[in-house]
């Protein structure tokens, strides 16, 4: 008998023998025929990862990516049929690989790839109008708290990950050396990673954690540009609700 435990055992392990009880039409051992399933599983998962991580593919090249993907998918096959979520653990896996230690920013750039996909499939929402903020008096404004769009995702890094992401996928200037926080926003259906100005990552993170507007902007520091951040959030439909 060839139960599914036996059939499954060799799918992600190329060194495992072909399970017993599988044959061709002449009752000879299945051999390569089992290999078709092994290959299908590996290739389909690898392709799904490659599609989900365009910037990682761009940064290390498709051949290197395939090696990383193969190791990852054998260690962490999907645990759900929702392939749109597969690979959420790949950035951490990348960070753990000695061969990639010389590219310390890779994992954080890969987190942008994960977040772009998450944002793409996140629930729809409608942003508030700028007038909703403008009509608040100062006291009310400082004490208000924001709800954000489910498609908004903040990624903080010690590396210039937003510039690297842009340079890898869209070309342009070579990334400079400083740390960047990236805010992924989806005004309609296409998520876009925006590089935040100084201090804005602190402010957004505080707001996401439920801080009042007044308490959050206190986290911004001297170089923080409040108007630029509000303009970005409003134009990208990121603030969905004001509450006191």
């Amino acid at each position: 008998m060839t139960d599914q435990t036996a059939f499954h055992s060799g799918l992600l392990n190329p060194a495992a023998p072909v399970p017993d009880g599988l044959t061709d039409a002449q009752a000879r051992p299945a051999g390569r025929r089992y290999g078709v399933y092994r290959n299908n599983v590996t290739v389909s998962l690898r392709e799904a990862l490659a599609e989900g991580f365009p910037s990682l593919v761009g940064l290390i090249g498709r051949e290197n990516f395939d090696h990383v993907a193969r190791a990852y998918l054998r260690q962490s096959p999907p645990t759900s049929p929702l392939m749109m979520h597969y690979g959420a653990g790949l950035p951490e896996f990348v960070a753990s690989l000695d061969q990639l230690k010389h590219l310390p920013y890779l994992a954080d750039v890969a987190r942008i790839d994960v977040a772009m996909r998450q944002s793409y499939h996140a629930a729809d929402s409608t942003g508030i109008d700028a007038t909703a903020l403008q009509t608040l008096d100062e006291e009310a404004l400082l004490s208000t708290r924001f709800d954000f769009a489910p498609s908004m995702i903040l990624i903080r890094s010690s590396y210039p990950i937003g510039s690297i992401w842009h340079y890898t996928l869209r070309g342009g200037d070579k990334p400079a050396g400083q740390a960047e926080d990236v805010l992924i926003l989806r005004a309609e259906y296409d998520p876009e990673p925006f590089v935040l100005g100084p201090g804005a990552g602190n402010v957004v993170q505080a707001l996401q954690n439920g801080a009042s507007f007044g308490a959050a902007i206190d986290q911004g520091g001297d170089a923080f540009d409040l108007a630029a951040l509000l303009n970005l959030l409003l134009s990208q439909q990121a603030i969905t609700y004001l509450k006191n």
């Binding site: 599988l22 061709d24 039409a25 998962l45 645990t79 759900s80 929702l82």
Partner: protein, 285 residues
């Protein structure tokens, strides 16, 4: 948003294609090659965004077939209750003209393998598959279609032919069948039997939909042809001929062209749909 329409209670006996987002505007610009569309259920289980927005638009214009690829109906374990509820949610809001899944398994020990894996045909597996189909039909509150797989190997322990196995499942559960004639051709070549003989033995009266797709060619360890169901190219002539053979016996059916890898530009897929339309015309002539 309870916007389910009842405008399309059945798939029409017309060609359809597997929907790919890159064809969205082409399809809306000139829908004439297709009478309906099929989607892979799992791609529309996100919380929102473009996929679901596009699906809402398409569902107003076309009958939709929801084709699941991840329920693992042939699995040894119980059906994933979360996944079954996700399917129910999708079918409830979309109210598709058809729901179908595969005679295969894809989940084991909480691993989802993203492939349609084979099962032996025995009394034990028959009972298990029938129980799973009962559960699906009960939860979804609708009849489902079960699709025959592409086989690359045989199980020594099998005691049922695939056609008898499918007929018995239909008898026990009342489900319908999705007949993939490319899968029949692939399996018949790989396991050395007559594809026409398979059609002769197959319960055609239960067919609610027919699939067509392209396959790749390889060889086994002994140099025998080994066809791989890739859905990555045009349907080959012998499969079109097998379709004619089938339709001559079954009468017209909803025909779906599947093209899932190396997806071509719309005109290529539209031509395949037109070729399916001419097969339907021939059977009505």
């Amino acid at each position: 948003m309870p916007d389910a329409t009842h405008a399309f209670p059945h798939l029409p006996n017309l060609p359809g294609v597997g929907y790919k987002p890159q064809h969205f505007s082409d399809i809306l610009t000139d829908p004439s090659p297709v009478g309906w569309l099929e989607i892979h259920a799992e791609n529309y289980m996100g919380d929102g965004g473009r996929p679901i927005a596009q699906l809402r638009v398409l569902a107003e214009r076309f009958p939709i077939s929801v084709h699941g690829v991840g329920l693992s109906i042939g699995g040894e374990g119980r059906l994933d209750p979360d996944h079954l509820l996700r399917l129910k949610h999708l079918c409830d809001w979309l109210n598709p003209a058809s729901f179908s899944e595969h005679l295969a398994w894809s989940t084991h020990d909480s691993h989802f393998l993203n492939d349609l894996l084979p099962l032996p045909y025995t009394d034990v597996t028959l009972t298990r598959v029938a129980d799973h189909i009962d559960e699906v039909q009960t939860v979804l509150g609708r009849r489902m279609l079960l699709e025959n797989p592409s086989s690359y190997l045989a199980f020594a322990e099998s005691t049922w032919s695939e056609t008898d196995f499918l007929a018995e499942i239909v008898r026990r559960t009342g489900c319908g069948l999705l007949l993939d004639v490319n899968n029949v051709f692939v399996s018949a070549t790989n396991l050395d039997y007559s594809p026409q003989g398979y059609i002769d033995a197959y319960p055609l009266e239960a067919v609610g939909e027919v699939h067509l797709g392209g396959h790749d060619e390889d060889e086994d360890d002994h140099g025998a042809p080994l066809l791989i169901d890739s859905h990555g190219r045009e349907v080959v002539d012998p499969v079109w001929a097998l379709l004619d053979y089938t339709l001559a016996k079954s009468g017209p059916k909803p025909l779906l062209v599947e093209w899932d890898t190396d997806v071509p530009d719309w005109p290529v897929l539209a031509d395949e749909a037109r070729r399916a339309a001419s097969a339907l015309t021939r059977v009505l002539a």
